[in-house]
Each structure stands twice: as C-alpha cells, then as structure tokens.
C-alpha cells in the first residue's frame, strides 16, 4: 500500500497529491508516468509524474477529475492509501540544449509540462511557455511556470485570465516571427489540442514532441491497448512513448480510440455515484 502524504486542490477539478513510493522516486525522471490502482476493485490508470523527491521517496501526481477513477481518487485524503503504484514507466523526456524552445500545457497538461520546462531551462535553453485552459479556474501553477520560463503566455478560451485565445494563436505568432528561431516545441494537453499544435508547427517544420494519453490497461507493454498509429506503423505508448514526434501521429485514429469506451465510462460514474449516495459519502468535486 502506498500512503497519500499530502493533498492540494489546484482548481475545482484538478488535485495534487504526494504519494509515498520510494521504489518509483529513486529513478523517476521528467516525462515518465506511473500506473495507479486505488483499491481491489480499481482500474489501472496512468498518471504523469509531475514531480518527485528522491530523498523523501515521494512522487507528486496531479489529476483532473474526469470519470470514476479520478473522481474517487479526488475524494481520498492524506493518511489513505493506494493499492498499487507502479513505475516509473515510459521513456524520460530527451533533455538537451536545443536553443529556443516552446513548452505548451493545456488544462491538466500544465502539470506534466512543468518538470519538462524546468529541465529544459536548467539545460540552458531559452524557454517560452504557453499555458491555457477553458477558464481561469482551471489554470494552476502560473507562478511555477513563470519561474522556469524566460517568457510565459497565459490563455483562456473565455478570456477570464490572460489572453482570450486558444494556445495555438500565440504559438503561430511566435513561429511566424522571423527573428525568433524555434528549435523545438513540446505540447501536453487534451489530444485535440495536441493535434492542432502539430498542425500549426508542421508548415514551419519545427519538431514537435507530444505526450500521448491513450487508454491503458497494464502499462507495461503486455496488452497493446495503448497502441497508436504512427506514419511508420503502430507503437505502444506505454513502452515506446509516452512522447512521440507529433507530426507522425494519426490523430483521427487516436481520437476515435479514446472515445470507444465512453458509454462504459459513463456507466461507471453512475454506478459509483449511486453507491456513494447509498453509503452516504458525498460526491465532491463535480460542482
């Protein structure tokens, strides 16, 4: 069992937790993920390693409450324990001094882009960061991102914080500015956002790294459920990724696969809310 040591509410649907897991912390690197299972009945869900402390043996996870598993996780508190916590999985981000780079985080994607941004900055890159979400309540870690970026642009769809724009707008402006030579772009967020980022960078031929969030079952390369179609054939996100060259990804296939279990996901939430109502536990975080 893996104890929850700390919990923070970052926005009404995004929460942070520190988990006691020395076997993961000892080797964790930016870009990798863990597989979490809440209890005996739980599914195995992938979550990015948002931060780690090797000395204390802890891993920080940040998650958005979307369905049964993440809502349930959000109801747990320090002192509670998780049944499984496996990792670090996947390949770490390739960190080098590339020159000037852009780091983009959409929604809960701000969490995983932060350690990558920090590592790129430490490696000597000039880092421009763009973070965005639907509305201001979903933006978090603006201060942290600012601290590790040379320049930070904040966008919201409704204009309630920063620019009223999709993250791809400032991206296109920067790419179109001939005085700035962008060596690489990282984008993490909803699949649809990553798709449009890669469409934006393609005409400029700027290598664009995305972190794919396919549905996973084991997370160790055993089932192929996480497979993604790339230009040169299918690959497993859990073993070969999670980061890929965004220009090679077949986004339509990815988006379609992500929605295949929607009906069952809805059923799981209903069943769980019903159970919570029966045993009197409040379903929080869904206001």
């Amino acid at each position: 069992m893996y104890k929850i040591l700390k919990k923070e509410v970052l926005s009404n649907v995004v929460k942070l937790m520190d988990i006691d897991a020395p076997h993961v912390a000892r080797k964790a690197k930016a870009g990798q993920f863990v597989i979490v299972r809440i209890d005996e009945f739980g599914e195995r869900i992938p979550l990015t390693i948002a931060d780690y402390d090797r000395e204390k043996g802890t891993i920080t996870i940040i998650f958005q409450e979307l369905g049964k598993s993440t809502m349930h996780l959000g109801m747990l508190n320090p002192g509670d324990s998780l049944a499984s916590f496996a990792g670090p999985l996947g390949h770490p981000t390739e960190i080098e001094n590339f020159g000037t780079v852009i780091c983009m985080g959409g929604g809960v994607g701000i969490a995983p882009i932060y350690p990558i941004t920090r590592a790129l900055k430490e490696a000597g890159n000039k880092v421009i960061s763009i973070i965005g979400a639907r509305t201001k309540d979903l933006i978090f870690w603006e201060d942290r991102m600012r601290a590790v970026s040379d320049e930070l642009i904040v966008c919201t769809d409704d204009g309630s914080r920063g620019r009223k724009a999709l993250v791809t707008e400032p991206l296109k402006e920067i790419l179109g500015d001939n005085d700035r030579k962008i060596a690489r772009v990282w984008a993490i967020g909803p699949a649809i956002m990553m798709k449009f980022v890669t469409l934006a960078t393609k005409p400029f031929n700027v290598p664009t790294i995305v972190s794919l969030n396919t549905i996973m079952i084991d997370g160790t390369g055993m089932c192929g459920g996480c497979r993604v179609l790339l230009e040169d054939g299918a690959q497993f996100v859990c073993v070969d990724g999670p980061e890929f060259d965004g220009h090679k990804v077949d986004w339509d296939s990815l988006l379609s696969r992500l929605s295949y279990y929607r009906e069952e996901e809805r059923k799981a939430v209903e069943h769980w809310e019903h159970k919570c109502r029966l045993d009197g536990t409040l379903v929080k975080g869904r206001e």
């Binding site: 080797k27 496996a86 179609l229 799981a268």
Partner: protein, 483 residues
C-alpha cells in the same frame, strides 16, 4: 479394496470428469471441471499398473513420481501422496488443471496404447486440491545461508525457482511488475479453467512457508535495472515470460474493436471486467466476435467471449451473440488442449477452419464492421511437419463482426532488457540461456520459461525454473564456477 490383478485393473473404465452443465456454465465464470469425488479418485487410481519402467514419467517435463503418488492415493494415504508429488512439483493444483496431459504424461501412459490412459492430470488435481485445503505438508526452509537471490517475474517459472531456492535456505525476493503474483496464471488463464483462489492459495502457501518476499508493482528495467539488482543480490533469475502481443500485418488493425487476446484476457481475468461495474475496468464486446487463432489463448478468449455475450444477453433479454474461432489450418492442427476445444464446442463456439483473415473493415466511425477472409486448403508439410495452408485464389468473403480478437502468439516483454549489457538475445527477442542450467551469457544471471523458449507451457516453465534453481544453488555453494 483387495489387491487387484492387472487384468482387473484394465477392465476399470477411465472416469469422466464431472463438469458444470454446458448451458448454465455459458452464463457464468465459475470453474467448469468440478473435480473427482474421493471414491472416483480412488478407483481411477486403481487403474494404474505401477509399471517398473513407467513411460508416463518420461512424458512429464518435470518427471513427477507418478506411480508413487498414485499408489499412495489408492492406499488412502493422502499425506504421502502429497509428499511424493512435492518431490518434483510444487504446484499440483495448477498443473493438474492446465497441463496438456494428452501429449505429456497421459500421452505416454502404457494403458493409452490399447485403451484410455490413467487420468493422471485429474488425480494430480485431486491431490493438489487436498493439500490446498488441508495443508498437511508444509514446505520447510533449510538453515539460512545468507545468500540473496532476486527472481524477476512471478509466473510459474519464477515461482518454482523461488520456492526451490527458498527451501535451500536462501533469501529470495520476487519482483513483479503487475499488482499480483502469478503471471499468465492470473492475467491470462480464465477463472473458469483455473480459479484465481487456487493460484493465490498455492503461491501464498509456498511464500508463507519459506518467507519469500514478493514485491509487486516493481518493473525491472525501470524501477531497478538488472545491473542494479546484481549489486544487491548474489544471483538473479529472469522469468519474465513472453507477454508482448503480436498483431497481424493486415489493414484495419487499429480500428475500434480490434484487440489483442492479452488486452481482452487482462481486462476480463486480472481486472475482472466480467463483474463491471462492481469492478472498474470495462470490456466492450460486440454481438459478433471473431477470435483469430486456435491455441490455448484463442480458446480462452473465445470461451470468455461466449460467457460475456450470455451475461449481456441476460440483461437485454436478447439471444446471446456469436463467438467464432477463425483459424487458417484444419481441425487436426489445432494446438490447444483437447479438453478446451471440446468444452468450447459444447459452449456453442463456432469454428471456422481453413479460413485466413486478410483485412478488417470498419464503418464511418472507425469501428469494426467485418472481417475479410480467404479460404485455405492444405498443401505440402512444412518444416514443422504440419501441412502448410495455401490460399484458394478468388475465395475472398466477408464475415460480419463487431469485435476481432487477435490470438496469434507473443514475444518476450522487452522492458527487463533495458540496461542489461551482456545479456544476449536471439533475433526473436528471447533470452539466450543454457537449457540444462538456465545460465545466460551474463554472469550471475539465469533465465527460464517463456522468456527463453517463447510461448510454451506452464509445466515447461516450471521445469526451467527448477533446473535453474538447482544450478544457482550449486553456484552459490561454490560447487561450480561460472565459466
């Protein structure tokens, strides 16, 4: 019973295994084969001729002392039967259920020459189940040696190796990447064939007796590399299996509704999707399911499909959907255990032999709509001695399907090979290891089971685990050097 003459023994007919009713069992995941009653086991045991040169033992990959355990059983001395069994096999409740006995022990039994062989597997299961409930013969740990051994993977190879080394007094730690031990026994083979309670029972009994530490959620190659394990442990055994699924290289493989047998079986068995939504993991299955292949994996997938379809039908009030096997060779080449094929047919599975998929067709939403196949005929025997299927030109046809499950074999899981310099592998990705000792090309590293042979059997994995344990024991005592 008075001592019988061989002629009398040969008159006794082989006892059928009592099974759950074939219609009822299609609607549940409970065990199909119910096990012999005490009296049935006793009379079945009377059939054995106690051969001086027992052929059955030669047919068993680990050489179980078959005449001895059967004799004890029929004399009513169950404790002794268990003792004889555990000389060679620590997991009889498992092997008795899943070994392909018809090509191993029973396939070699002398009685099989003219009539039907002794039901060795069923008797083995009887002895194993007795021990699981009675625990008469705990494994004993020898005096502590102070040597530390890491076993990577908790399938039959790893567990067997760990148990044998534990008995010798070594400190054994098992590292397993999933959340529970057992390997294929828990994520692949379904509950109705091998109840998970039996697997947990066998493993925890052995681990408790011997103080074996099982660390789940530890992915070797990521949490720790092989080289790091070698710093902390005197020897390392790799029993990581062959879990990486292969997909056919045909168009449409990435459509929604196409999955590997491993994905399907992991959802259903390890994650208990047949109890969704009480368990969180769902599995989506259409009314028409095609399973491609005809090995044990395919048979397990198709039988799970038939069950899920029945459970769905109960809820909707419709008639259950169809579960198909699609196999490019003929009935005679089917590699699965006979009993499974027989059970599948009883459960209403539809077999399409000499049929080879060439494309998966999708609808406008990207979901599977049909499986395009060609008919095959048998040509000349190939290198494996089996007649090679060849395509009949112009015989393409479409089978309407909503789900396609690929059960086409697997390759070794690659993660463990990260940062393991010197560990040689074949072009198929399997670890190179000596067959008799399990030694790899990397010093102090042994390997066995599917990671070395590719997908094989439970008992061959156990055999490899045993041989490696013996060699590790000798090496640690200084009775032999590495080179």
């Amino acid at each position: 019973m008075a001592e019988l003459k061989p002629a009398d023994r040969m008159k006794i007919k082989r006892h059928e295994m009592p099974n759950q009713d074939q219609v009822i069992r299609r609607g549940n995941f409970e065990e199909v084969a119910l096990g012999y009653a005490a009296e049935t086991a006793r009379t079945e045991a009377e059939r054995c001729l106690q051969c001086k040169d027992p052929k059955c033992v030669q047919g068993c990959p680990v050489g179980v002392l078959i005449p001895q355990f059967i004799k004890a059983l029929r004399e009513g001395d169950m404790v002794k039967a268990v003792e004889w069994m555990k000389v060679k096999n620590n997991l009889p409740a498992i092997c008795g259920r899943v070994c392909p006995q018809e090509v191993q022990c029973e396939g070699s039994c002398i009685l099989g020459k003219k009539g039907e062989p002794v039901a060795i597997g069923r008797l083995e299961r009887y002895v194993g189940d007795f021990e699981l409930s009675q625990r008469t013969c705990p494994l004993v740990k020898a005096l502590k040696t102070g040597k530390k051994i890491a076993v990577v993977g908790s399938g039959p190879a790893g567990i067997t190796c760990a148990v044998d080394l534990g008995r010798e007094g070594h400190d054994v730690t098992i590292f397993e990447s999933l959340h529970g031990p057992g390997g294929v026994l828990i994520y692949g083979i379904p509950e109705f064939r091998l109840p998970k309670g039996v697997v947990h029972g066998e493993i925890s009994y052995a681990a408790d007796c011997l103080g074996i530490d099982i660390k789940t959620d530890h992915v070797i190659g990521r949490s720790f590399t092989l080289d790091e394990l070698l710093e902390d442990f005197d020897a390392v055994f790799l029993g990581t299996g062959a879990g990486l699924p292969s997909f056919m290289r045909i168009p449409g493989i990435n459509l929604n509704g196409v999955m590997s047998a491993n994905e399907f079986l992991t959802r259903v068995n390890l994650m208990k999707a047949y109890q969704f939504p009480d368990y969180d993991t769902p599995v989506k299955l259409g009314r028409k399911v095609a399973v491609v292949g005809a090995g044990n994996v395919a048979m397990d997938s198709v039988r799970c499909s038939a069950r899920l379809q029945s459970l769905q039908a109960k809820q909707t009030g419709e008639v259950p959907g169809e579960a198909h096997i699609v196999y490019r060779r003929s009935k005679d080449e089917v590699p699965a255990r006979q009993e499974e094929v027989h059970h599948a047919a009883e459960e209403g599975v539809i077999f399409n032999f000499l049929t080879n998929p060439i494309e998966i067709l999708g609808d406008e939403k990207g979901n599977v709509r049909a499986l395009r196949c060609v008919r095959m005929e048998l040509g000349e025997p190939d290198a494996s001695g089996r007649r090679k299927p060849v395509e009949i030109k112009g015989s393409e046809f479409d089978m309407e399907m909503d789900t396609v499950i690929m059960a086409l074999g697997t390759n070794p899981n690659p993660i463990v090979f990260v940062d393991a310099a010197g560990l040689e592998r074949t072009k198929y990705g399997t670890a190179v290891a000596d067959n008799d000792t399990g030694r790899t090309k990397k010093k102090r590293v042994w390997a066995g089971g599917d990671v070395v042979t590719g997908a094989a059997t439970v008992i061959s994995a156990m055999g490899a685990g045993k041989r490696a344990a013996a060699d590790i024991g000798k090496f640690l005592k200084g009775e032999c050097s590495w080179d």
